[in-house]
């Protein structure tokens, strides 16, 4: 149970006190109204005689309004606290995952879970709990008073009461399935929407827009159906409650009329008093049933969140150690990793000397990026070990490790924010000069000069778009700013023209002077300069060495550089 522990005891106490006062005002209100009418209608009292009662009544109804307000506010606060905590919990669940798990599932669904599903737990705190308390106190008080006045009416009410838990049980069951369906549809069309949104252009170009539109239409119609299903239960239960209350009200009225006229056992005042109070009894119960209904929906939402939170995360563990010397030496001993059943990286062993420049080459899909992820410890090694300066990698502190590392991935993400922010994220302590300098090193100066706001131009989602190569350079600037001792590059210069690349290669060489540089490369001229080339094929290392050696002896390498017949040819036509 996720929601219950989120309410403080204090809240229950406050709500109970408010409900007790509310019950008192309801009873007092009915009593005063009756006494006023009786005085005028039957006792022929003068107007001035009823003035005190009128004054008191005014006070009572105002107090009742005040209690209503308090009740609402208490519920609201309880809901707020709970929603804050819940969002926090779900988010930290998401942020614990290693990168391969985090990309599973649709982002739209996750965002909806964080925002809308959590929102749906609101009514548990703001409706269900307050009404539940109110509905145990108020009707009991009313019933007690009615019994003191006329026990027959009390018995009638008591006879109809058992129907109420019965209906609640039915609502509970029905709502559960339906609201689960509703939440599923909600997640589904949110996921669908975000997924289509990021591929909008492709959908257009491939004539799939209409199909996608009808998919969105279908899922939102399904959502409508599910919502109506949930509501139908609520409406039906409200209808049934109404009928029950009407039935018993009718009986009470009849009984009162008989008592009043035929048997003369009841006075007008008593009869009227009961007639005013009995509906309040049923109103409280009707409120309860609708609160119960929304409470059930909240519970469904909470179940969904709970499922999410209970999903196991393969959390990476870290130690406390820090790097002993910089740049570090990295050693891989029989490292393997599998995304699913088959191993993507198999038994990889290699030694990367401190300060050396290592190129990883291999066909597309050979596992180069995965290997970089493993070295960066973005993914857990499934078997084998990685040593950094002879310390096992999992003994290092997370902060200590990532502080030494720059990793430019194959598709770096540009965050919504200024160019400045996007560069600064790699080193929050950097000064303006540092960032200027890093931007220059990354060849961004020509772009920045063109922009009105220069470095402070907002880019990323919601900002100015950049060309492919410009994004790549912003990401590179992060590395130049950080000056790390380990650099992992995943084809840092794809999408760059030769001129820009030439400039960048100079900067990279300078950056790599005091660092261990491991780069995935397709381009010949990068590979040639490497101190060591690791050749990968289908997840295995099939050769290590330098260019001249490998081109003579390694068949995979030869075929990779298109060096079958001797001359290098990397053109495509």
């Amino acid at each position: 149970m996720l929601l219950k522990p989120l309410i403080k005891r204090q809240t229950y106490i406050q709500l109970s006190i408010v409900s007790i006062v509310m019950a008192l005002t309801i009873i007092a209100q009915a009593y005063l109204i009756v006494s006023i009418i009786e005085a005028i209608f039957l006792s022929n009292a003068s107007f001035s005689a009823i003035l005190p009662s009128l004054g008191l009544l005014l006070f009572v109804i105002s107090l009742r309004a005040g209690m209503n307000y308090l009740n609402g506010v208490i519920g609201l606060h309880a809901a707020n606290q709970a929603k804050k905590k819940l969002r926090n919990r779900v988010l930290s669940h998401f942020t614990k995952q290693p990168v391969d798990l985090s990309s599973q599932g649709r982002s739209g669904e996750k965002v909806t879970q964080l925002i809308n599903v959590v929102e749906q737990t609101d009514s548990y705190f703001s409706q269900y709990i307050p009404k539940m308390i109110q509905a145990t106190i108020v009707p009991l008080a009313i019933l007690a008073i009615i019994f003191t006045q006329n026990w027959v009416s009390g018995v009638i009410i008591l006879l109809t009461a058992p129907f109420i838990p019965l209906f609640m049980a039915i609502i509970g069951m029905k709502t559960k399935d339906k609201s689960e369906e509703q939440l599923n549809e909600l997640s589904s069309f949110s996921g669908q929407f975000l997924d289509s949104l990021q591929g909008l252009t492709t959908l257009k170009l491939f004539g799939q827009s209409d199909r996608e539109k009808s998919r969105i239409e279908d899922s939102s119609i399904n959502f409508r159906q599910a919502t109506l299903g949930v509501l139908a239960v609520a409406f039906t239960s409200a209808f049934m409650m109404e009928l029950i209350s009407m039935l018993s009200m009718g009986l009470i009225a009849l009984e009162l009329a008989l008592g009043l006229i035929i048997f003369d056992t009841i006075t007008f005042a008593t009869a009227f008093f009961i007639l005013l109070l009995a509906p309040e009894f049923y109103i409280a119960l009707k409120d309860l049933s609708s609160a119960f209904h929304s409470g059930r929906e909240s519970l469904t939402a909470s179940k969904k969140l709970e499922e999410q939170l209970n999903e196991p995360v393969e959390e990476l563990t870290w130690g406390e150690a820090s790097l002993t010397s910089r740049p570090p030496r990295i050693q891989l001993n029989g490292v393997s990793f599998a995304y699913d059943e088959s191993e993507t990286v198999q038994d990889v062993s290699a030694t990367i000397e401190a300060g050396s420049f290592v190129a990883i080459v291999g066909k597309s899909g050979a596992g180069k990026t995965t290997l970089l992820h493993l070295i960066a410890r973005l993914l857990p090694v499934h078997s084998g070990d990685i040593f950094v300066n002879d310390i096992e990698q999992d003994q290092l502190g997370e902060q200590a490790w990532f502080n030494e590392l720059s990793y430019i991935s194959q598709h770096p993400y540009i965050f919504s924010g200024t160019i400045y922010d996007n560069i600064q994220m790699s080193k929050p302590s950097a000064t303006k000069e540092d960032i200027d300098h890093a931007a220059k090193e990354a060849g961004l100066q020509p772009l920045i000069d063109l922009l009105e706001d220069g470095l402070h131009t907002v880019i990323g989602e919601g900002g100015r778009g950049l060309s492919g190569g410009e994004k790549q350079r912003v990401a590179l600037a992060r590395a130049f700013l950080k000056q790390p001792s380990i650099i992992l590059f995943d084809e840092p210069t794809t999408g760059l023209d030769l001129k820009t690349e030439q400039v960048l290669n100079e900067s990279i060489t300078k950056l790599a002077e005091d660092a261990t540089l491991i780069t995935v490369a397709h381009r010949m001229h990068t590979i040639q300069k490497a101190d060591q080339i690791i050749v990968m094929d289908e997840g295995r290392v099939v050769g290590t060495g330098q260019h001249d050696m490998l081109r003579k002896s390694n068949a995979t390498y030869q075929s990779l550089i298109g060096d079958v017949a001797g001359g290098e040819r990397d053109g495509w036509s």
Partner: protein, 563 residues
Amino acid sequence: MAGLNIVIKQLMKEKRDVVLSILFSFIAGIAAVGLFTASGYLISQAALGVPITALTVVIAIVKLLGFTRALSRYSERYFSHRATFTMLSHIRVQFFEKLQNLTPSKVQRFRTGDLLSRFVSDVESLQNFFLRIFYPPIVLVLIFLSTVLFTLYFSFWIALLLVVGLLLSTVVLPALFAKVRQTTEQPVQEKRSDLSAQATELLFGYQDLKIHQKLADQSEAFNTANDDLIQAQTKERKHELLNQVLDGWIGLLMAWAVLAVGGWLITSGQMEGVWLAMFMLLTLTVFENTQPMAAFPQYFLENKKAANRIFFKEDEAVSEPTQPLGDAGAIDISFRGVDFTYPDEPRSTLKNVNLSIPSGSKTAFVGASGSGKSTLLQLILKLEEASGEVYINSQAISQMTPESLWQQTNTVMQDQQFFAGTIRDNLLSDASDEQLTYALKRARLSNFSLTDEVYEKGDNLSGGEKQRLAIARLFLRDANLWLLDEPTSSLDQVTAREVMTEILRDAENDTFVIVSHNLRGLENMDQIIVMDHGEVVEQGTFDELMARKGYFYQLKEIERDTL
């Protein structure tokens, strides 16, 4: 109002449900008033000791009214919610359609999370439009009119009181709140969008956040946005709560006033005592109907904003294009003095571009990063609209329906897009399984089966696999124009060459345009166009450009040096 007008239009598609909701709501409301009025009368008459038979009639009426009320309430709710949720599903589709019609650079101006929030939450909030804004006032007026007329028959003063109460709770109170609200308006929708944007960014940029140890910061930003949202919501809901409570209080107050005035009228002999209980109950009930009005201004403003966020304004296209591109084999393209500026940009990205790509020719675009190559391809595809004219087969592109153009084009964009689903889904084709498998094979993706799972954005594919999957899509289409933006930049040379050979086999007689940073193999191109800073600086065949010793020649020199 613009947004709300569209909402009303959507709502009116459900006319039948709208009318039924209003009808049943009125019946339910008036039945309730009748029910309590009759009970008040009943109890008073009973006290006076009238014959039991007369009372039975009243009791029967009470029963009937009660049943009518319950049934009508049920029907009202059913029809009104059906109308509402049907409308919402239409609006969702419309919103998506609207986004589809935007150019990519305009979509880029929104944050994904913001759009998601509009799609889910803002649309959801429009459910109040019909349920709380549109019909309650209509019903309220009808019910009050009937009630006041009925009361007028007995007492002018009490009728007047009802009217005063009505004005108080439907005009004065809402106006007061509307005024307060204007100064304390809470940007709940924006805050929710912020929160959604923070969450989306965290998920999309997860890997880079992790590497830069920024997950904690981003979570912090999320939590701050969350606090902001909750704070804004709290203010808003407290406001709403206060409205409701005050409105309920006014109802009670009016009943109290009826008691006081009635008491005075009776004691001074202007009214019979038997009516007092009846009017008191009547007042209590009739004011239940004003409840929805309390929050009217709040919902109205909120919905207006939501509607404008969903149906946001955009520059209208000058004229709807009407002409389809004729299907006449190979395609030629020409640019005549084309300028292009991205929205909200001070500088133009493409300047006075003149070029011609003859049908069946092979053209390569080269040039510095950021020089405008990808932009130029977008203009050919009419994804963005330029000034100056682009002609395709001598037809002006501005008059052309883009779908007809896309149908005849095979494109690989620089950033390929993929969808959560299977490989089959991502091939975006209705072709048979054999054909799909064959296309995969040609794109050197034979190790994948059609049912293999693809994550959102193709996150479980390697860089090169994505490019090859995007290329496999092309083998399933019959198009005359090929536009390839660095299609093999992440592939090793061997695979790149193999895939390229496959492409050229299909494109043999077609117009073929490629953007590439790889200068090898350009010897065989019919034309090379060199771009710099948004301008075409050189064009010609490989040999011509080499002979000119200009920009292209320099690039070749650099290439030679790096080896």
